[in-house]
Amino acid sequence: MRPLSLGARLSLLFAACSAAVSLLAGALFNQASEAHFAELDYQQLQGELTVLRNLLDGVADVADLPDRLPAVQEELAQHPELALRIAGGNGRNWFDSLPSRHEPAAYRSLEVPLDPRHADGARLTLHLNIAHHRHFLDGMQRLIWLGVGLSALATALLGAWGVRRSLRPLRQMGEVAAGISASSLTTRLEAERQPAELAELAQAFNAMLARLEDAFARLSAFSGDIAHELRTPLSNLLTQTQVILARPRALETYRETLHSNLEELQRLAQMVADMLLLAKADHGLLLPSREPLELGAELDALLDYFAPLAEEAGVRLERRGEARLAADRSMLRRALSNLLDNALRFTPAGGTIRLEVASTAGGLRLEVGNSGPAIPAGQLPRLFDRFYRADPARREGGAEHAGLGLALTRSIVRTHGGEIRCESREGWTRFILEFPA
């Protein structure tokens, strides 16, 4: 079942609270009023009793009564709310002014001996009609109930209004979110104008939008880049093939053209394979089959592989440190070989490339460093973007380097739960790979 709305819940809670509070206050007030009236009545009864005792002073028998009765009745006539009963010590009724038909609840009574010195003699019972007090109290109770109801209703409405008003920013967020599409990712909420409780949510929402915008921009750029990267070799192939076929040529020319086409096609195939691998990594389909690796030996194997190339380029290869890492051997080799290949292309003759591996508190740190001109700081964050080349002029050249190598390396590192970053200063550039333990 769908839970009650926040507005309804809070309104009900407010109403219940105010009802309980006003009910409690009413009950206390009612109690106090009743006690107060009882006190007043008791005082009045006491006063009257003194007067009547005086009037009846010395009456010991029913025979003495008629003499005093006129004064008593006069006194009673002055106080119509009072009724008197006089009874002998044996309980026989001597006198009773209480109407025979009356409501017992409407009277407060006080029964005392006529003569305080003879507790077992004749007794006086004085009845005070308190109907008007009862009426007052009844009226007050009605008012209290009315107050309870009204205050509950008022707070419920107020609560509903307040909640609605307080949640307006949330509704606005909802509207903004509902209106967002790929083309309006620049929309942002005004986080500083939100109440404190929602500011955090608004900031998180904005941050999410920013990430989406960034990812989307990269994706758009990537699609554009793919088209561009494919268009260039395809256009080469088309033009070349059509021109060659336009007229008969020497056998050697056909052979040359086919060779040239073959190179172009191999480049395309490699690019497609790399992009597929990247797409797999993006979808979490790149599953490393991990095995414990001795990195020292692994790195040496890589350096062996690159040794001929480094020797030709006049670059020294070094390796320092030992560590163990559970990783997919083939993927790791691929990731590192991209870095080494990259380093070799940017290290001037006489320079050094150094692989350094060390265990750290958090896991493992692997560095691929090379001497050579520093990469401008502005380019560092973009290095790992697909098709990014630090030097745009190399775009069309650099045969097999489509600018996917570092992106692939990063995907592989991330697949292993690690991170990669690049630092470059004072003639030394290093790629730092960090893997958790």
Binding site: Q270, A273, F306, L344
Partner: protein, 227 residues
Amino acid sequence: MKLLIVEDEPKTGHSLQQGLGEAGFAVELAADGTTGERLALEGDHDLLILDVMLPGRDGWQILHSLRQAGRDTPVLFLTARDAVEDRVRGLELGADDYLVKPFAFAELLARVRTLLRRGQTTATETLLQAADLELDLLRRRVRRGGRRIDLTPQEFALLELLLRRQGEVLPKSLIAAEVWDMHFDSGTNVVEVAIRRLRTKIDDDFAPPLIHTVRGLGYVLDVRAAP
């Protein structure tokens, strides 16, 4: 050597048939799974090249029937998808190797030859030869024309591979995998450089040249008549 190719894409099928035919194999081609399965079960092929996605019976089903019938003919799969589950499934069903499209023909040829050689027990040779070049596996020495040539361990391994597969064009990727255990197309010209350096030592001062570049395909060690 008799091969059966089951491939529904006509251009690919004919190119493979032509290429493998010219490489010296007798090649049969089936364009759909049902025909392919029948031919595979009736014939006595030395190797099957199966496309995974086929009309009729798919590659997996053909392999399954084949193994059910008790045939252990080596099978090489061609797949357009490099999905992990495909690979796992193929290995479970007993595929011997697989190639992801697009692949280089030289790579396919090299894999086919590797698979065909697998069954043969070659006597453990200790001396590999080509013309006047000798490679002594026990003493790890190389001589040409009676002169000793010093090679690095990698150069030795590279020469050993070329000699063992004399006359076969070996693509760069296969050389990287066999010699350096690098199982990916790194796009670097490491192999190129390594071959060039080896050639300097083996061929520069001698005739005829033994290591040849087959442009766009790879490298081959071959004794050819001097031009």
